[in-house]
Symmetry: C2
Amino acid sequence: MIGIFDSGIGGLTVVRAFMTILRDYDIIYFGDTARTPYGNKSERTVLRYAQENIDFLLHKGAQIIITACNTAASVLIQAPNNSYNIPMFEVITPAVRLSVEASKNRRIGVIGTRATITSGIYEKKIHMLNSKINVYSASCPLLVPLVEEAWLTKPETTMIVKKYLHPLKVRQIDTLILGCTHYPILKKIIHRKIGKKVDIIDSSLAVANQVKNFLKANPESDLELKKNGNLKIFVSDVTEQFQKTAREILKKNISLEHLAI
Amino acid sequence: MIGIFDSGIGGLTVVRAFMTILRDYDIIYFGDTARTPYGNKSERTVLRYAQENIDFLLHKGAQIIITACNTAASVLIQAPNNSYNIPMFEVITPAVRLSVEASKNRRIGVIGTRATITSGIYEKKIHMLNSKINVYSASCPLLVPLVEEAWLTKPETTMIVKKYLHPLKVRQIDTLILGCTHYPILKKIIHRKIGKKVDIIDSSLAVANQVKNFLKANPESDLELKKNGNLKIFVSDVTEQFQKTAREILKKNISLEHLAI
């Protein structure tokens, strides 16, 4: 099975991308809703949570792991003892590659949680591919609660998006990375406010395509994976709000299993 | 020692009230910053967290416990096996009593997190004192992140406060309970938007006064408590943001101890 985890609900946008691009592959998802959000917590705490989540997915039989949370990915990538014996993917690396390919004027913007932006991981990874690219980052801590409240079309949300994007707009970025799995849900407003000419990089599709290419190149890994189109969702806390938003993201009825942590 | 706990940072407004009203009493505080916020989590998860926090404070030598988190208090009050052998206080009961005393037209408003408002605890407790009072409630889930981001004077915050309070304003409430320890930090905007004639009930001062009266009436409990003016703060996650906001609330330098949970 393909194992995907996130701090909560945002990672379901990654599940949606996998269901489009790797249709029929069995997926097991874990959302850490009892400890969500990760984006304003320390590196040390987020690393511990990420490792616990991976261990849970391995225990449940995952043969490939996708870290669908940018905050968790930002600490896992930089962790010294990060050695698992199975293929591991995350949302940052493929989004970085796409953004470097897309940028014509070498001016890339990144938005994410406070923890992701503070880690500087996007800037480091972009500069590893091309040191001449200018990277401008902005943390947008209120966008996660706004998405979780489903305040998607309210004027306050538009004002807050505009305020967060302003420093990137004045830098005349030509490419913008959505460095948090919640942000694709606000893609339309973000695109309108940053300007229609700016390329928007959505990491959920990027990672699904990366895994698709990996499986083509590694048929022995592909053969191990079940393809019955099953989706199993575990969460550490069950709330009505999660169930409602999950249905909205996946456009289908889902059942959740509770994991006490 | 007096033990006080909260889901994170908001409970420091209660610490501040104790430092004013019970000056010199030793306080031990626990902020569950690794799992914050509680307000959008389920009853079952919040109850487990609250019990773990109480056990930690007891283990550290607390002889009185104050639940400084409305969400935690709302589930603890209604929990079936809630029997600790020491005096326990929380922020809901004294605020309810004050609001019933203050209301002239028997129209009380309550604002809080989604979990607190869904629990219906304020309405139940108010009706136990006076069944003829009309209670109008509104959950305000975005106010906690706005306070934690220190967006205290931004126009977006004012708009959101106004939107949340609108249904209470049209009901012509004469008294408003701030049913979340974060809200006293937004007291001025809230007062302006709900109307200056409305009495605002701040539960942090209410519970500190209740404990003061209890200690006067129970000198044997009072004698047990240390009075060296010490404040010890434990958190389950250490972040710069917490340290900054803590200093702003308490108006003094503080040091934090980390508790891994």
